[in-house]
Amino acid sequence: MVPLSHYLILSAALFAIGMFGALTRRNAIGILMALELMFNAVNLDFVAFSRYLPQTMLQGQIFAIFVITVAAAEAAVGLAIILGLYRNFKTVNVDEINLMKW
């Protein structure tokens, strides 16, 4: 049986990778993907906990389901925003999108 800690480390790694992507990808869509990675990491934790903790009512899994749903919604809105933005800016590179600063 795999110890819980392994899952935790794994999800932490996944989270970190996602975070790195969010910090560095220039492409807005890339950033969205990275965010999805982070959500997955969290979900992994949830499920792992709900499996390993004693006396649980599957809250972990429920939570994970909702997280997935919300993530989907967020992704949809995000992509819509990106599309609209692309119409005006003709680019999706976030470091070129800085009309407003200071």
Binding site: A22, L23, T24, V94, D95, I97, N98, M100, K101, W102
Partner: protein, 656 residues
């Protein structure tokens, strides 16, 4: 007796009327003013008579200032001393009012002039009649104000305005001392009423406190009565109209100091050091200014310096404890010095404003009344028997000698000699010999109109008889017996002294008389017999001559001193103070200006600067921080991540 309240109030009434409606009644302003002063003179005389009858009055009209255990009433005091002063002031004042009608008749500030004059009468009478030091101080400042206004009467003249301010500010320095004196009196005796204070006087307090009080008061006196070293303002004060010089700067105001010292004699009697100081300052001033008077060429300035020196005699007398004599001299001096000024005034009047005696001469024929009265006044001033000046001055010298103040006494004799000399130098220069002014003035020489002439005559009369009438025999004349109760302590000594050495007194009198005659003779020698001598002498002793001509460079000396003190930080404020005096005088005093500029700069740069600096820092920070806002979203995310990292690290490792 309570009529006395009218004495100051009448002039005040005049002030109000002229002040409010002066612009309307222009030419007739004198009616109000003169009648006001005349009436108050009358009332004063009545009161005086009652006072001679032995009545006195110490009357609190109402409580002026009452705070906690401090109270000072508005109250009048009539005792022989104040009665005499009151009479002198009102009488001379009245005469000078009359004289001014003629003298000022074509001035555009006619009404204003009489307003000020009445205001002065009022303040002076308050000063004299006050029954407590605070009210006296009110009068004291009041007369200062009036002298300021009247000296600067012709304010378009820069010099006049300056002189006025100089006078006021110098007086203010004196007043500062006076004020401190008042505080000390109050905190020592718990009251400012003469009665309470003098009742509370007891030697047990030790001389220290008395010396402190009296010295502080004397500072005030020095300022007001133009004694060394605060005399500088009086000569300049001659910028004012001549009647003003006569009234304020000869007869009344400048003698306030003497009056104050005499009034405070119970305190002075317990402070021998102060007495000696007073005497010394008096004697020195007497000689000092007399020497300056020797060479001055402005008729009024000569008289002015002679005034200073006569004031010196009065202080010598007061210092010698002969307060009565001091006041006596004050009275006689009021007559003949006023006379001198008015005479000078009428001379200037007929010469259309010419004041330089080198451009006069031979006026005897043209204006006999002026000449005669002027002669009498000069004799009196020189102290020639049996004129008024003789008696009073002789008494002072005698008392000084008896008091063992030998050096001051000698100085006094020297002063007497010089006085006689410069008075007659002046007289001969002005009235004898040929006329040295320009011709067209020479043709219009004329005697002054009656309303100017009569006062001369009256004053002349008094200058002659005053001494004999009131002051003979010395120390026991009518006057002395009248004022005796006030000064009993000092007086008794004088009495028995007199009994002891009547012979020596006569000898003394003879001596001073001789000296005076000597002076006159010398003057005669110089200016009648051999007119070339003076210039020759001046050539020979150029240094001395210049020294005197430039009044010992005292003003310049002050500058130097104060600059040096100004450098010294602990003298800092005093330095500023004194600089302000002269600084305010000649409009630019670099030390004060420098200091003030410095403080102004400091104000702008340092104090304000700090605040602005803070503001700048904030502004700057604002701009810097603003730059963090790059507008690139991932930088923001990074900031967030860093924040998280920081917090975790802090919590896990720094404060576990």
């Amino acid at each position: 007796m309570k009529l006395v309240v009218l004495v100051p109030l009448l002039p005040l009434l005049g002030v109000l009327i002229n002040g409010l409606f002066g612009s309307k009644i222009r030419g007739r302003a004198h009616l109000i003013a003169v009648s006001a002063s005349g009436l108050s003179c009358l009332v004063a005389f009545l009161v005086f008579v009652r006072a001679v009858g032995g009545e006195g009055l110490d009357w609190d009209l109402y409580s002026w200032l009452e705070v906690g255990d401090f109270q000072a009433p508005i109250g009048l005091l009539v005792d022989p001393l104040s009665a005499v002063m009151m009479l002198v002031v009102t009488f001379v004042g009245f005469l000078i009012h009359v004289y001014s009608i003629g003298y000022m008749h074509d001035d555009r500030g006619y009404a204003r002039f009489f307003t000020y004059l009445n205001l002065f009468m009022f303040s002076m009478l308050v000063l004299v009649l006050a029954n407590n030091y605070l009210l006296m101080f009110l009068g004291w400042e009041g007369v200062g104000l009036c002298s300021y206004l009247l000296i600067g009467f012709w304010y378009e003249k820069q010099s006049a305005a300056d002189a006025g301010k100089k006078a006021f500010v110098v007086n203010r320095i004196g007043d500062a001392g006076f004020l401190l004196g008042l505080f000390l009196i109050w905190s020592t005796f718990g009251s400012l009423k003469y009665a309470d204070v003098f009742k509370a006087v007891d030697p047990a307090l030790g001389t220290g406190i008395y010396t402190a009080i009296t010295l502080l008061l004397f500072v005030g006196a020095m300022g007001k009565s133009a004694q060394l070293p605060l005399y500088v303002w009086l000569p300049d004060a001659m910028e004012g109209p001549t009647p003003v010089s006569a009234l304020i700067h000869a007869a009344t105001m400048v003698t306030a100091g003497v009056y104050m010292v005499a009034r405070s004699h119970p305190l002075y009697n317990l402070a021998p050091f102060s007495l000696d100081l007073v005497a010394w300052v008096g004697a020195l001033t007497a000689v000092f200014s007399a020497t300056i008077a020797l060479v001055q060429n402005d008729i009024k300035r000569v008289v002015a310096y002679s005034t200073i020196s006569q004031l010196g005699y009065m202080f010598l007398g007061a210092g010698a404890g002969a307060y009565a004599s001091a006041i006596f001299h004050l009275g006689t001096h009021a007559f003949f010095k006023a006379l001198l000024f008015l005479g000078a005034g009428s001379v200037i009047h007929s010469l259309h404003g010419e004041q330089d005696i080198r451009r006069m001469g031979g006026l005897w024929k043209a204006m006999p009344i002026t000449a005669w009265t002027f002669l009498l006044a000069s004799l009196a001033n020189a102290g020639i028997f049996p004129l008024a000046g003789f008696w009073s001055k002789d008494e002072i010298l005698f008392n000084a000698f008896e008091r063992g103040l030998t050096v001051p006494w000698l100085l006094g004799l020297v002063g007497a000699f010089l006085t006689a000399f410069y008075m007659f130098r002046l007289f001969f220069q002005v009235f004898t010999g040929p006329f040295r002014g320009d011709a067209h003035v020479g043709h219009h020489l004329h005697e002054s109109p009656p309303n100017m002439a009569y006062p001369l005559v009256v004053l002349g009369l008094f200058s002659v008889i005053a001494g004999l009438a009131f002051g003979f025999p010395p120390d026991q004349g009518l006057y002395h017996r009248f004022v005796a109760p006030v000064f009993e302590t000092a007086h008794e000594t004088a009495i028995e002294m007199a009994h002891a050495t009547i012979s020596s007194q006569v000898g003394m009198a003879a001596l001073s008389l001789a000296i005076a005659l000597l002076g006159i003779g010398l003057a005669y020698q110089f200016y009648i017999r051999r007119p070339e001598l003076p210039s020759a002498l001046a050539e020979r002793m150029k240094g001395v001559y210049l020294l005197l001509l430039n009044k010992y460079w005292v003003d310049e000396l002050y500058q130097a001193i104060f600059v040096d003190f100004g450098k010294n930080v602990c003298r800092f404020l005093w330095g500023v103070d004194s600089r302000v005096v002269d600084g305010a005088v000649n409009g630019s005093s670099w030390l004060t200006v420098r200091l003030s500029l410095l403080s102004a700069w400091n104000d702008l740069k340092i104090v304000d600067g700090l605040v602005n600096a803070v503001a700048d820092v904030i502004q700057g920070g604002s701009l810097r921080l603003r730059r963090l806002q790059t507008g690139i979203v991932q930088n923001y995310i990074l900031a967030m991540a860093l924040g998280i990292l920081g917090m975790v690290v802090i919590y896990l490792f720094i404060f576990p």
